[in-house]
């Protein structure tokens, strides 16, 4: 039996200006990467020279001088960081052990938009403080996208930047 090839009429496409998925809260990510550990909030502030040194070592631009960070009870570090692509905005968590080796990387939330709004602080602000208990309403039904363009390059670059931060700044902290 031969396949009958159908020219299906154009299907109305749902237009999404914003698609978002929340995976983990900060607390959930902490327990996922460092199960059972205790965390002390220890935000990192970088001066101009430190930023420059990190950029030089990692080859990645340091967008923000401030970073959300926690010390773990085992002298590890837990970071919450954000990366911005052309169409996507990704918050992720990264854990480093006392020696500066990556323990784990977890995506906290992923948001994408097509239309150039992503660099506007207003568009980003609507997600501020969202947690898994407070799911975003944007196209919550869209769970499975095939042929996605998702690239993890920005996250990989972000981790490189965190490793340089640890090597140049945090390793020497007592």
């Amino acid at each position: 039996m031969r396949t009958k090839w159908l020219a299906v009429p154009v299907v109305l496409a749902a237009t999404t200006s914003g698609y978002a998925t929340v995976y983990l809260t900060v607390e959930q990510a902490q327990q996922a990467i460092f199960p059972g550990a205790k965390f002390t909030f220890a935000p990192v502030k970088l001066d101009a020279a430190q930023r420059k040194a990190i950029e030089k070592q990692s080859g990645v631009r340091v967008r923000s001088a401030e970073l959300q960070a926690w010390r773990t009870s085992d002298s590890g570090w837990f970071f919450v960081d954000e990366v911005l692509g052309k169409h996507e905005f990704i918050a992720y968590a990264c854990g480093l052990d006392a020696s500066g080796a990556v323990v784990g990387v977890e995506i906290l939330d992923y948001r994408e938009t097509y239309g150039g709004e992503i660099r506007q602080s207003k568009w980003r602000a609507q997600f501020a403080g969202k947690t898994a208990r407070d799911p975003l309403k944007l196209d919550a039904e869209i769970k499975n996208i095939s042929g996605a363009t998702l690239s993890c390059r920005h996250v990989t670059d972000g981790v490189k930047r965190l490793l340089a931060l640890h090597d140049l700044v945090l390793k020497n902290l007592r």
Partner: protein, 294 residues
Amino acid sequence: MTSCSKTSAELRRARPLLGTLVEIRARGVAPATLDAAFAAVARVHARMSPHEPASDVARLNRARAGETLRIDAWTWRVLAAAQRLAEKSHGVFDVTIAQSSTGVPPAGCTTAGADACATRAGDWRDLVLLPRPRVRVARPLRLDLGGIAKGFAVDRALAILRAAGATSGVVNAGGDLRVFGAAAERVVVRHPAAPGRLIPLALLRAGALATSANYFDAPRAARLRRPDGRRLWLGRGSVSVRAPTCLLADALTKIVAAIGPRRAEPLLRAHRASALVLTRDGRICTSEEFRDAA
């Protein structure tokens, strides 16, 4: 709240692997099962990424003519599947393609052998599978498993969810996905001309679905070729394939993109697969099976 939420709540995680964001969802398992599923994906990444110097693929690409290598059992399985598809597609599917598309001679070419390398670039026939886990490289090769390893990784991760007793599960590696479980999963695909627009593709209850679009991901398209050197059948559109496994779905999209759904039909049928082509202007060409398959 603890024991019953474990079985009813859906766990959902994403990690950066295989050059994309890999998402895993499951019901009826503990979070550690998702860790194990991600570890399977990480194993595929570590053994099959050409960019990891210690990977099997990097080692094979450095191998000299006639060299025999022991490789990871999973890499061997992917190569065996790739070779079967290469044979059945008469070389349309060829995991050694990266070399000729870049025009760069394989790393393993010695000065003495440079002429031989230049006259005929190695292809899939120069990769000889010996009893597992060994392979022989008859001619220096430039392998790239980008068109098949991602699907295999999805299959391995899903197998772990199943083995752990998950009642349902979805593994999606940048658009190559496989599902199982009670509820049908609605899958959408991006409009080729407007990636922000999503077009409903299918309801997937079991099995896999992969999509290749050759303008989103030009390097991947560059891995496709026709044996006669002619242009790809697929212009600026996308090809989605449903198949029992994600390895097959992933690899078959490359074959359909190369020679078109009609010529690929015997191969699709032989693998219980079906295809859907979406053109840049939003027209859909599909077989009945694609939408009907449960």
